[in-house]
């Protein structure tokens, strides 16, 4: 088999020297796996903080005239909640954490292409988070995570801090995108052709250009907002010749692709987990891989569907409506392919598999309401209401966060060498499903019947649905607490898992857990797609990986 020409010019053979000392090993590490875990821990801390803000929001809304916080404080709560969950939890978790930890090993690389850049990307993330939360000290932003001017021009001083924080995390995203794209294109092991890559790698390959290109538009928009707020240069203020819609176009030119940054990697994780536990090849590999790329490309051409009520020309509205609807086709292909993968399997319902299966159902709801909103006439009714809140949480919680939990239960043994507790995990899954659906299903109809989003008080006719949503949100929060208890307990006390407890076939499962700093003693050669469960593993050169008597590779001529 002619594989030598696919070898990344010797880059893949490069070995870093073993890191010594706590700081080089765990703080300023250049090892993609440690950086992945750093991202993960940081993002989980922000998940807790964003979750607490969410619960304050739900407590306030338990009564139509909630008195827990003032209107202004309420506005700060949801603005920082949204910003946290998008930029400090889901994007870093799916790209920085799972991306870093999993895909370089899956393609048989020893690290990402630019390890120092990778470290720099991570170290922009905690300061950005501290800046965002620091904005509470000077009056946090209040105009939602979208911060539309002119409202955001009137916002408290913390709004400028918000600009700077999101700008910083944006730079981090852009650099990560470049790093991942080069790694995926240049660092694959010999024989790891694009069409043999695991689907998680395809998902990252589709996501990386989004991170790289779309985030720059956000950076420009944020810089302009910051300059206008601090130095008075009018970009957005219509009374001085600016345009409020300019922000909306630039913001959504980023933030719509960002929705795909937040869901494509989760699709990739589901595409790994379902075949592993169904003991079946993923159904329609090529179509799933192709649909990720199609979604990423179309994702650049639909941003103005967030602006149907803003005053776009009818011709533009029609174009954006029809382009948006086409995204349902590749998304549908993925969902049907996962369902077909379940058919005829020998499904092992671990917690990871439960979350992956639940994901298919909850994400389908979020995807379908997305088609509703694509239709301009319906959007004219639903835009800016709780229907949007329901839709976006079905995508980002029922999709992205469910995917993150599935991935956590799946890859936890690879991170720590131990299982997470399955009993607690199943409690987590079922309570989360009950809590999550109970929280967000009522929001569909209260939105359509007349409750706008971003309100601290509301019409008493919506009290019962809001009250139920709040009660169920407590169940959801409790379920997430169970997850944290489980994870913290399992790091030290979990049942030892060995190197490949799930019988998974991708490369990361063929080396010890936790993975050594060099990943592979010898870079393997790849002969086929990983998803043929009836065949032997399609790799050569992995014989010594689990054998402690085979020495670690020696770095040659390292800087």
């Amino acid at each position: 088999m002619a594989v030598a020409e696919l070898h990344g010019g010797g880059i893949a053979e490069h070995v870093h020297p073993e890191p010594h000392g706590f700081i080089r090993k765990y703080i300023f590490s250049i090892d993609h796996k440690i950086i992945g875990l750093q991202y993960m821990i940081t993002a989980f801390i922000f998940l807790v903080m964003g979750g607490m803000l969410a619960e304050l929001i739900r407590v306030q809304l338990m009564s139509p005239h909630g008195t827990l916080v003032s209107n202004d404080t309420f506005d700060e709560l949801y603005s920082v909640h949204g910003s946290t969950m998008v930029w400090l939890v889901i994007i870093p978790m799916l790209t920085g954490a799972f991306g870093n930890f999993v895909f370089p090993v899956q393609i048989g690389a020893r690290d990402v292409a630019f390890p120092w850049l990778n470290m720099a990307s991570f170290w922009m993330f905690p300061p950005a988070g501290l800046m965002l939360y620091g904005s509470f000290l000077m009056g946090a932003p209040t105009a939602g995570w979208t911060e539309y001017p002119p409202m955001s021009l009137q916002g408290a001083p913390g709004t400028s801090m918000w600009c700077a924080a999101i700008f910083l995390i944006g730079v981090s995203s852009t650099l990560t995108g470049i790093n991942f794209l080069v790694t995926l294109l240049r660092m694959r092991a010999p024989g790891m052709t694009l069409t043999r890559m695991p689907l998680f790698c395809w998902a990252q390959l589709a996501t990386a250009p989004l991170l790289m290109i779309a985030t720059t538009a956000l950076g420009a928009a944020l810089a302009a907002l910051f300059i206008e707020r601090q130095f008075g240069v009018p970009f957005y203020d219509p009374t001085r010749g600016g345009s409020p819609l300019l922000w909306q176009h630039m913001f959504w030119f980023y933030s719509h692709p960002a929705v795909y940054i937040m869901i494509l990697p989760a699709f990739g994780m589901i595409s790994e987990i379902i075949p592993t536990f169904a003991r079946k090849p993923i159904f329609g590999y090529r179509m799933i891989a192709f649909s990720s790329v199609a979604i990423a490309l179309l994702g650049f051409m639909v941003w103005a569907h967030h602006m149907f009520t803003s005053g776009l020309s009818p011709a533009l509205q029609l174009a954006f409506m029809l382009l948006t609807m086409t995204i349902a086709i590749p998304t549908g292909i993925k969902i049907f392919s996962w369902v077909a993968t379940l058919w005829g399997g020998k499904i092992h319902f671990t917690t990871a598999m439960l979350f992956a299966t639940g994901f298919i159902v909850t994400f389908t709801i979020g995807g379908l309401t997305g088609v509703y909103l694509a239709a301009v006439p319906f959007d004219l009714h639903a835009h800016g209401t709780y229907f949007i809140v329901a839709h976006l949480h079905y995508v980002l919680v029922g999709g992205s966060l469910m995917g993150i939990f599935a991935g956590m239960y799946f890859w936890f043994p690879k991170m720590t060498g131990r299982f997470m507790n399955e009993t607690l995990g199943k409690w987590h899954f079922w309570l989360f499903m009950i809590g999550f659906n109970g929280t967000f299903i009522p929001m569909h109809w209260i939105g359509l019947l007349g409750q706008p989003r971003r309100v601290a008080t509301y019409d008493p006719q919506f009290w019962s649905s809001n009250f139920a949503a709040s009660l169920f949100s407590f169940i959801m929060t409790f379920a997430i607490l169970l997850f944290f208890v489980n994870a913290l307990w399992s790091i030290r006390r979990g049942k030892p898992a060995g190197h490949n407890p799930w019988g998974a076939r991708t490369l990361e499962w063929q080396i010890p857990s936790p993975m050594p700093y060099y990943n592979f003693k010898k870079v393997p050669m790849v002969f086929a797609s990983p998803y043929h469960f009836s065949d032997p593993l399609p790799y050569r050169g992995l014989e010594g990986e689990l054998d402690p008597s085979v020495p670690a590779p020696v770095p040659a001529g390292h800087h």
């Binding site: 002119p150 169904a278 590999y285």
Partner: protein, 368 residues
């Protein structure tokens, strides 16, 4: 189909087709429900094109419900049927199928057809909303402010009203804009909304079809009192009542062009006997002071300054052109107020009692 080995359960057997038949029955039942359901029972329709948008909603509900039933039922059915059993060998694997081109073609084609249908349907309704509405009727302008709406009827000489009254059956061209930040003008009963963007005029066309009173709600975050920007109404009424209202505003605007309109001021009077001015002062400094200063009328904080409010005949008239008197002030405090200056909370929102109001009026009376 690349099947590498076969085992029991690998065929699309009777059980599979029974489940599929159940899915078909459930789907048909759902479609029947979605098409028959009377949406106006939960949310009235006030205008055309609300009926068109509801028709689109039914189509979406029917089609998406079917997709959801198909996906969820198969997920649950396959999960139960193909779960690993206790007596399976640990290395048991599923049927090694990689793809099935015909099936993949179908699940690309069927959603595409549904989406094309949705696209055509949406475009038709879209043109019904934007392009086919008659424009020869009444023109109204709505202007967003923090945190209320003004309405201008070009026929009434450039002056504002605080409710939007519309005659039944007359096509309306509604221009919306804003004087400060972005608001969004939504009447749920109309099923349409338009953002009120400063410096930009957006236009909605519709024709009132059902008389009634309907809420107008701001759906774009616009600052502290965004949550309260839902107190104003659209009234659809017969032509005679509309003319009466319209002429009333013409007269009012001609004679009292400085009057600031109030809404829903209570007609229930408050017993003012025995009000304690001392207690009233306490209440004033803990509540009213947030929006009202103690200076002259022009010394505005949010609301006007209240010095001399009950004693200065030259004090601008607060309520519909009559000078302020004790009863009117009490009613105003009791019912709250939404007008050109914004929203003043009601007795309940301020957690006041009638006795508190009597105290406050007594205080304002001593305040010269």
């Amino acid at each position: 189909m690349a099947v590498e080995h076969r085992e029991p359960g690998a065929e699309l057997d009777r059980q599979f087709w029974i489940v599929t038949a159940l899915i078909a029955i459930a789907s048909l039942a759902w479609i029947a429900f979605a098409l028959a359901w009377d949406i106006t029972k939960v949310l009235p329709e006030a205008v055309r094109p609300a009926d068109l948008i509801d028709a689109l909603f039914r189509f979406l509900l029917a089609a998406s419900g079917v997709v959801f039933i198909v996906v969820t039922t198969y997920v649950v059915y396959f999960s139960l049927r193909y779960r690993r059993r206790a007596d399976d060998p640990p290395d048991a694997i599923g049927i090694q199928i990689h793809d099935h081109h015909a099936l993949e073609l179908w699940w690309t084609i069927i959603p595409t057809v549904l989406l094309v249908a949705l696209g055509i349907f949406s475009v038709r309704i879209f043109s019904g909303i934007y392009l086919e509405q008659p424009t020869n009727g009444l023109t109204v302008e709505a202007i967003g402010h923090q945190w209320y709406f003004d309405f201008r009827y070009p026929g009434i000489n450039g002056v504002i009203t605080d409710e939007m009254h519309l005659p039944l059956g007359v096509p309306v061209t509604l221009h919306v804009t804003s004087q400060d930040v972005i608001h969004s003008f939504w009447i749920p009963a109309d099923r349409i909304k338009a953002d009120m963007v400063p410096g930009l005029i957006n236009t909605l066309h519709f024709t009132p079809t059902h008389p009634g009173t309907y809420k107008i709600i701001c759906t774009e975050f616009c600052g502290t009192l965004h949550s309260d920007m839902n107190k104003q109404i659209m009234v659809v009424q017969d032509d005679a009542s509309f003319k009466k209202w319209y002429e009333g505003w013409k007269v009012k605007n001609a004679h009292a062009s400085n009057a600031l309109p109030g809404t829903g001021v209570s007609s229930a009077s408050v017993n003012l006997a025995g009000g304690s001015a001392a207690n009233g002062q306490k209440l004033f400094t803990s509540k009213c002071i947030a929006c009202h200063g103690t200076g002259a009328f022009d010394a505005k904080v949010v609301g006007p300054g209240l010095k001399n409010v009950l004693h200065d005949p030259a004090h601008p008239q607060l309520l519909n052109g009559t000078p302020a008197n004790e009863d009117d002030v009490a009613k105003l405090i009791k019912s709250g107020f939404t007008g050109a200056m914004g929203h003043m909370p009601s007795e309940a929102e301020n957690s006041l009692s009638d006795k508190d109001i009597a105290d406050l009026v007594a205080f304002l009376n001593t305040y010269k």
